[in-house]
Amino acid sequence: MAASDHTILEQAARWLGEGRKVALATVVETWGSAPQPVGSQLAIDAEGNFIGSVSGGCVEGAVVTEALDVISSGAPRLMQFGVADETAWKVGLACGGRIAVYVEPVT
């Protein structure tokens, strides 16, 4: 668990309290060298505001885009990022590791 996890969850709760829709992205598995440990989180609101980190910046943009989809569809999804991935050219991890990120709506 990263040091600032509580501020991420608190922000998610605050957004919900303001009537905003929110998704939570969590690193659930890593392979090789990964910038953020398992359990690292990102909270995203429906306008694309986010707090936290799942990769130290490498794939946050892609995760936020997916999170907006998850917020509107209401269905969680599991995503992978890494050098073996098709999307690696666009949003791969510079460190060469691979991570799985679970993106879920908070309802």
Partner: protein
């Protein structure tokens, strides 16, 4: 994640209770397991390890996310070295409490944004409680202030106890504590001279050595 699960996580944190959130990654089903009930859970073995090493992980499509209480550092002595320790400890995620009965030391101007107590350690510590996610360091050099705090730390399961002072100071400190009935195995829990031996010079480098030793105790239990 349901709103009530999020609220449960935040509540556990506020009350310093360890919980794990288990998510079935295929179905999205989630359950919150308090550490106190982990032994009776179907994933008991994995949960025990996860809590102890503060390590979240996935197994067979089940994701265990550990939410241990925040780390806490109790500093005895609102002294110069404390001012160097605090910013590093905050970066490492510790909530800080500073205790110093000498009113002139524990002032908000010297320690902005930190919980300050200008009472004696044996008055304050029982009210805040010590637990396995807490470390305590005694920095005053004054046995009248340091010793009562160290005694309470030794009677608790804090993960790190350190005391500032030379080898000679540490020797007489250990002798005093032995005389009051603490066993040899107890007093060896006190790291003194405090910090890893990195040849630190001056307060900022001593702070680095203290926080390095504390991190080793947290992660490796040594």
């Amino acid at each position: 994640m349901r709103r009530q699960v999020l609220d449960g996580l935040l509540e556990a944190r506020a009350q310093r209770r360890a919980v794990a959130l288990i998510t079935d990654l295929a179905s999205g089903a989630q359950r919150l397991v308090p550490r106190s009930e982990a032994a009776r859970d179907a994933l008991a073995d994995r949960l025990e390890e996860a809590f102890r090493f503060d390590q979240s992980s996935s197994h067979d499509g089940q994701f265990i996310n550990v939410h241990n209480p925040p780390l806490r550092l109790v500093i005895i002595g609102a002294v110069h070295i404390a001012q160097s320790v605090i910013p590093i400890a905050q970066q490492l995620g510790y909530d800080i409490t500073v205790i110093d009965p000498r009113g002139a030391f524990a002032t908000g101007a010297r320690f902005p944004g930190v919980m300050l107590h200008d009472e004696w350690p044996d008055e304050v510590i029982p009210t805040i409680g010590l637990d396995p996610r807490t470390a305590l360091i005694a920095l005053t050099h004054d046995p009248k202030i340091d010793d009562p705090a160290l005694k309470l730390a030794l009677a608790s399961d804090v993960f790190y106890i350190g005391a500032l002072g030379s080898r000679k100071t540490q020797g007489s400190r250990v002798a005093r504590l032995r005389e009051t009935g603490f066993a040899e195995a107890d007093v060896t829990r006190i790291r003194g001279p405090i910090g890893l031996d990195i040849g630190a010079r001056g307060a900022p480098e001593i702070a680095v050595s203290i926080m390095a030793e504390m991190t080793r105790a947290l992660r490796l239990g040594a």
